[in-house]
Symmetry: C2
Subunit: 381 residues, 2 copies
């Protein structure tokens, strides 16, 4: 027997989510009403006790518009307390079960300061990362060491040449984990030494950023260890680790190094246009909430499918006001070449990290020289 | 300057993935060749040193068939060493970057014993869970306590009545995290006491299974604490926490309690038919590899979109041979009612957990009596 009335001590403050719902106004409104229940009480509404569960816990349709393209946008609000003021449960309220219903896509999060103040977000952000790397204004440059299977001495040599050639952030390819041919400890040690040696020679502040793809119970200790031997940042793929693992690493004061988000295994969320989460919400808002200082995404015109508009929406969400959370670097990559850099800088402006992977190896066998050409292009901006 | 030849000490054993690729044979084959590179070296193939990187690390098309529906299925094999013999990196090789390319879906994993032997998989599995609950043959029953916002005394009372009524597994609604109105510690303590009290009265072995949605750095300790006060299992949503967090909890000997997978925030992977991961691979193979003893998925004919065939494919993958890994319980839920139980048992057979959430509250205000009706139906099988 349930109580007939429940009073909760809630703040009355609500956050909201814009959902794009496929269907005409009548269908979409019914689905929106379903979301209000599904994402909160998941319980027959007619059995809910009177009082604050009915009045405040169940989601509320705050706005509803027809988009004129066979879809509607419903803005649904939730009491901030439903999130437990924690990232994992916040994501659960935003899209937990509803993620399984086709034809519903998270377009945008509208998060009030009362909720945002519970999240540190990016530790460095754009300004902090620029200070850390001592690069005040030009676009930042990122390269990835690869291919997997290369002896560690050669991978470390890549790091050295990248740093000598003026690359700011030298990251592991995201496929370098802890394989027998790419032992995590030895790799991090050698690559950290290589970047330190190059920095001593150039006077610059390039960093090596290992991919920490360790088992869940080892991620934090491995990251702390990596920093202790000279890693200058961390590459994390939240599609694989969960977003809160990235948040944990960004928040840990023992680390205090930048975090870059890699999109491996995240594609399920964005590839279907009528489902999942919008590019801006996933690569911008959620990535920022989860503490990344830079968000890697596949650039338009490469071998992936993001449109120019979708990429620009990520860049906008990376910088849009979001409480006290710092803005972060959009980091377009994926089939990039040195030649495309000017086009990208036209689109993204200077507040960007240009990520080139295999392309940096292409122009000549002299890696450092290939990097210098890339750097020279960036310095014109 | 890269080395001209690389020799690696690889076993020669390969695992493979069946990818469904939208397109005619020529398009799909080109995409398949792209996957071979994308999922491994992500590097210009023409620059790869001769030897084992070229010969073994790059993915290989082991089979290719036209499906006759505008798609093809490519079976691509990878050296088991690329996975680092760890779950996170294995998932990364299976679908990391390729997840972002539209029109490619993971259909099936083909994992040899040499790879599988590195994973414990489910600790209990079907037989172990039956022994743990002392239910040798009939279908198992699961109920969820809700709605969120209910005072903890009432939630604990639900647990008590569910257990009195013969429900085997009484789980938190997945929306119960650590909210101010649903404090994790107090909830777990009260609900564990409630199930123990009911068991003492009935002589049965019902369990209470809390939802452990804690921050990444607290999940393990909170789970261990929950067990210490009487939690009989753990509910985990790997879409939110990452699959390896579930694996960690299943593997930890200090826990040694069953784990149930909840599909919250996992929908991005299955809602688009041409993208993501098949129902069988995600809710069956990967969930099993990640240590769940039971896999919750939205049943056909409810408010979600899974077809009967897709649900059956999950049940099959839950029991199909997979090295030494135990078989697990398909756990259909989502809009279930007592009345539908016979239909579901016809489809799934006895080796199933029937999950009813809000529906258990519907038939009368006497919760225990509603549960008894559900139990009586199950006992006929």
């Amino acid at each position: 027997m349930l109580p007939s009335h429940v009073t909760l001590d809630l703040s009355g403050v609500r956050f909201s989510v814009d959902y794009r719902i496929v269907g005409d106004a009548s269908d979409a409104r019914a689905k929106a009403e379903g979301i209000c229940v599904e994402q909160t009480i998941e319980f027959p509404p007619e059995l809910v006790p009177a009082g604050d569960i009915a009045d405040q816990i169940i989601g509320q349709i705050a706005n509803f518009v027809e988009n004129g393209d066979g879809s509607c946008t419903a803005t649904i609000s939730y009491a901030i307390e439903t999130s437990g003021l924690e990232l994992t449960q916040l994501l659960n309220v935003i899209f937990g079960n509803t993620s399984i219903q086709p034809g519903i896509r998270v377009q945008k999060l509208n998060l009030p300061d009362e909720l945002l103040q519970n999240f540190n977000g990016p530790r460095f952000g754009c300004d902090g990362l620029r200070a850390y790397l001592d690069v005040p204004t030009r676009p930042l440059l990122c390269g990835a060491i690869k291919p997997m299977g290369l002896p560690l001495t050669d991978l470390a040599q890549c790091v050295y040449e990248f740093a000598r050639g003026g690359i700011d952030i030298i990251k592991d390819d995201h496929g370098l984990a802890d394989q027998k041919y790419a032992n995590f400890e030895e790799r991090v040690q050698r690559c950290s030494e290589a970047v330190a040696k190059a920095n001593a020679e150039t006077g610059q502040k390039a960093i090596y950023m290992p991919n920490v793809a360790a088992p869940a119970d080892q991620v934090l200790e491995k990251a702390i260890w990596a920093k202790s031997v000279g890693a200058g940042g961390l590459l994390i793929a939240p599609g694989l680790t969960g977003f809160d693992t990235m948040r944990m690493l960004a928040d840990d004061d023992r680390l205090n190094i930048p975090v870059m988000m890699h999109p491996a295994f995240i594609g399920g969320w964005v590839t279907g246009r009528d489902n999942g989460i919008s590019h801006a919400a996933l690569f911008g808002q959620i990535t920022r909430l989860a503490g990344a200082d830079a968000s890697i995404f596949p650039n338009f015109g490469g071998r992936f499918s993001f449109s120019k508009e979708e990429c620009i929406s990520i860049a906008k969400a990376s910088a849009a006001p979001m409480g006290a959370l710092k803005s972060i670097f959009p980091t377009p990559g994926g089939g990039m070449s040195v030649e495309r850099a000017p086009e990208l800088l036209d689109v993204y402006g200077r507040e960007v990290i240009l990520l080139i992977g295999g392309g940096l190896f292409r122009n000549s066998p002299d890696l450092a020289q290939n990097c210098r050409e890339f750097r020279e292009l960036a310095e014109q901006f």
